[in-house]
Amino acid sequence: MKPAPFDYLRPASLGEALEALASDGAMALAGGQSLIAMLNMRLARPDLLVDIVHLPELRGRGLRVGAAVRQAELAGLHPLIDRALPHVGHYQTRSRSTFCGSVAHADPAAELPLCVVALGGRVHLASARGERTVEAAAFFEGPLMTAREEDELIAAVELPPPDPRAGYAFREVALRHGDFALAAFAAVADADGVRLAVGGVADTPVVLDGLAIDPDAIDARDDFHADAAYRRRLVDRVGRATVEEALACRA
């Protein structure tokens, strides 16, 4: 398996990167832990890869996580992310993959997009045309489909500051540790109630009221590994357990 030919650019500035991304067939390359696998299998055939992971403008700061921040650097950033991180890929991929890259890839079973939706984060997009911000809830449109336009780069994903009185919990069910989740759950229990975000079940992360979980409200997917009925059962059992854990963790 070899990728089809493409050109490679390591731009010196964000401006140069955005200029290059405006051309047809250009794609941003950060950690590459999803994209290079797709190149190897020729599921992606870009004309140009723009390597953005070295750009100092994309480091971000604190809870505004820039596109150049690797997943292994996220420890201690937010209690929910800390709980989810051991489930994200593997030790050997987190060293290279980025937070923003996972959000851009938008795999329905991915843990980090799920956390961003659970927390009500925001996605900052940049292009040669300008900048805009999209709420996480509106960003994910379908499997591997997002509100990002072709020429746009996720410059940063911003998370709200952790609430010291809130309880956070994360659980997932996968065939083996590090495999794609059959179902993943992120729960936030605070003064407003409990938000339960569910990943891997529908085509995008879905937010439910954690105190009134209705598994039938989710358009659950069937696939080779699990049918829709099993996934809804996981929502009922493991989703509920995640909510209880978040409630118990509340200060």
């Binding site: 490679y8 590459g32 832990q33 299998m41 890869l49 292994a72 060293s95 290279r96």
Partner: protein
């Protein structure tokens, strides 16, 4: 022409953009200790160190490693980890071994006193179809104790 160091030596060899680091190491540099299994980041056989961090070399382009320090199994010094692998028979066919040694080298440097659970989490990024992992876990914990 990515310029990087591989096992401490400066390398300056031509690589077209689509050349994977795994193929650059094996075919261009002749460092065949790095094994290639699945070529899409699942099996862990091709794991090397890039700037001290473990990485699948099949999920890295050679050109991305411009300016990086790459270490392969050929660059590891014989030490307690190798000895522990021998003592515990932590390999049979050996295909996965190079990648596992690279991961454990980075991991034990960061986490000198790991729990069995932590070792198993790291090893979940590697497929071994011979050993059942038990002797590999034992070797890792033994090496950490040494």
């Amino acid at each position: 022409m990515p310029r990087m160091t591989v096992n401490g030596e400066a390398v300056d060899a031509a690589a077209e953009p689509r050349l994977l680091l795994s193929d650059f190491l094996r075919h261009t540099l002749g460092l065949t200790g790095t094994h290639v299994g699945c070529e899409h980041g699942v099996c862990g056989a091709c794991t090397v160190l890039i700037d001290g961090r473990p990485a699948r070399s099949c999920l890295a382009l050679a050109v991305q490693c411009e300016g990086a320090e790459v270490v392969t199994v050929e660059g590891l010094e014989e030490g307690v980890l190798h000895a522990a692998f021998r003592r515990h028979f932590a390999l049979q066919c050996g295909f996965c071994t190079a990648g596992i040694l690279m991961s454990l080298t980075a991991f034990l440097r960061e986490t000198p006193r790991p729990t069995e659970r932590e070792v198993r989490e790291v090893l979940s990024g590697h497929l071994c179809r011979c050993t059942g992992y038990t002797p590999i876990v034992a070797a890792a914990l033994d090496a950490a104790d040494a």
